[in-house]
């Protein structure tokens, strides 16, 4: 087995990206994700890659757009306010059907907000952020090990479906250290016949663009894209189930909130309460199937989030409001405690949602 090393979550993303074959990083510093850029600045020159600190977030996402159009594995990273600045580019990349990896190590918002951990960019990541009809694959790591493995997965999925994968982490997972092992990265290689690599006068020009002035053409493009999204929803959802076999109550949480919630589930089980946890690993596609199945057997759900309640809307959607869903949340950089989650579980047992 590979050696265990201690690494910060942010550094794990950067190292995994390099192992996944990413040789192009464009970014702009912002707490709490700056270690990604710092790691890239140190490593990229040594492997013949490109590290570029752009003049702004907007510039960096457009550099990603350019490099992605040329067919290379490319990424950028930022934190909440910085991702808002990148939103225009995210929409253009989606409209051009090219692959990229974007990391959001979330902090409290809205506005400049604070620098402490948060999950309040769920809507932005899963429902849009930029304009137009588009989706991003959204991966939510809950450990330093997953920061690495989902980064590699993110690049593979981005290439497979020619779209953006977003790693939606938070300040805690970004800053914390845990032991991780780097097994050989499973890099999937996809042909990129659309890439702008120069024609050598041997083929027709490729064009990467998101401008379609004829509405008939733009509509067809969107229809095609949504066929692809449908396939992703059917095939790529990932989640973890914990103690769900006999559960009467289901806690749903992702990222750092899921770590806290798991402690509470263990504590509740010790008190004889039959409760389990569903941890979405992909936020889009949302693990609809797991939630639908749980809705048929549990008495109610508890959504644990570091936001004012964003994922809870998807839980209600996919349970078709069959069962009550309680919200257990903190926000603005505060983190929900195991005791607060335990209290919500106990309330649910009493029928209080």
């Amino acid at each position: 087995m590979a050696e265990r090393v201690l690494m910060k979550g942010n550094e794990a993303i950067a190292e995994a990206a390099i192992r996944a074959g990413c040789k192009h990083y464009f970014g702009y510093p912002i707490t709490p994700q700056t270690e990604i850029a710092a790691y890239m600045a140190k490593k990229m020159p040594k492997i013949g890659g490109v590290f570029l600190q752009a003049e702004s977030e907007i510039a960096s996402i457009n550099m990603v757009y350019g490099a992605a159009a040329a067919g290379v594995r490319v990424m950028t990273s930022s934190s909440s306010p910085g991702i808002s600045l990148k939103a225009e580019g995210l929409s253009y990349i989606a409209g051009s059907d090219i692959p990229a990896l974007v990391v959001n190590v979330q902090r409290g918002g809205p506005g400049l907000g604070g620098i402490q951990p948060s999950q309040s960019d769920y809507f932005q990541a899963t429902k849009g952020g930029g304009h137009g009809d588009y989706r991003m694959i959204v991966l939510a790591p809950a450990s330093v090990q997953e920061m690495a493995s989902l980064t590699i997965k993110g690049f593979n999925l981005a290439d497979k479906y020619q779209m953006t994968s977003m790693i939606l982490a938070d300040g805690t997972i970004g800053q914390m250290m845990e032991p991780i092992t780097f097994e050989d990265a499973e890099i999937e290689n996809y042909e990129k016949p659309w890439a702008l690599t120069g024609t050598n006068c041997e083929r027709k020009h490729n064009i990467v663009n998101s401008l379609y002035l004829k509405p008939e053409e733009l509509e067809v493009k969107n229809f095609e894209r949504y066929e692809k999204y449908k396939a992703i929803e059917e095939n790529e959802a990932m989640w973890e189930e914990y103690m769900m076999e006999d559960a009467k109550y289901c806690v749903v949480a992702f990222g750092i909130a899921a770590r806290v919630a798991k402690n509470a589930v263990v504590a509740a089980r010790n008190e004889g309460i039959k409760v389990g946890l569903i941890r979405p690993i992909t936020l889009w596609p949302f693990p609809q199937k797991a939630i639908k199945e749980a809705a048929d057997k549990v008495n109610g759900f508890i959504s644990v989030e570091l936001s004012m309640g964003q994922m809870i809307e998807d839980i209600r959607l996919y349970t078709e409001s069959k069962k009550p869903v309680a919200l257990c949340n903190r926000c603005g950089g505060m983190i929900v405690s195991p005791d607060e989650v335990l209290q919500s579980i106990k309330n649910a047992e009493k029928g209080v949602f």
Partner: protein
């Protein structure tokens, strides 16, 4: 070892995060499950800093500590803030050179070490943190003092190799403090 939650707190600049890293690497070399979570807010710049370290035989759940088994307090505000959160039966390490206040709780083991004073008099003024770590290892035999040199070597950057010996000196001072 059973899950042990260690909270280290003090001023920025006292080596709070470094002490936490030392424990995390110690756990790593002993094949334990480990998490290390620093404070990274504006408090890092001159205010209070703290660090959550969890060592366990089993996978670590939440890396955020609400009820520490061990508290290391290197300034008065940290002691006052966290003293009541320590689990009954837990340990509290107090740098008594900087904190005159005594712990009034009787359900915890309290260790007073004038670490900052000891460090100064030994010419290693910045290593009070490691003196306390040495004392902590001594009182937690399951972590053992063995192998600390290897751990320190991993932590100290090659350019500052001279610091390895000084760190070991500080750890030893703490280990032998009665």
């Amino acid at each position: 070892m059973k899950t042990t939650q260690i909270l280290i707190a003090g001023f920025g600049g006292q080596g709070i995060l470094f002490a936490g890293k030392f424990l995390a690497y110690k756990g790593l070399t002993e094949d334990l499950q480990v998490s290390w979570l620093p404070s990274y807010g504006p408090e890092m710049r001159g205010g209070t800093a703290n660090c959550n370290v969890i060592l366990s035989d089993t996978p670590v759940g939440s890396p955020i500590i609400t009820t520490p088994d061990v508290l290391v307090a290197m300034n008065l505000p940290s002691l006052q803030k966290y003293v009541d959160t320590v689990a009954p039966g837990g340990q509290i390490y107090v740098d008594s050179a900087l904190i005159e206040e005594k712990v009034t709780r009787t359900d915890v083991d309290v260790f007073y070490i004038p670490a900052t004073q000891m460090a100064k008099s030994q010419g290693i003024a910045t290593l009070a943190n490691m003196i306390i770590m040495g004392h902590l290892l001594e009182n937690n035999p399951e972590l053992s003092f063995e192998g600390t040199e290897e751990v320190v070597k991993k932590l100290v950057p090659p350019k500052k190799a001279a610091l390895v010996e000084l760190n070991i000196k500080a750890l030893t001072l703490g280990k032998e403090y009665k």
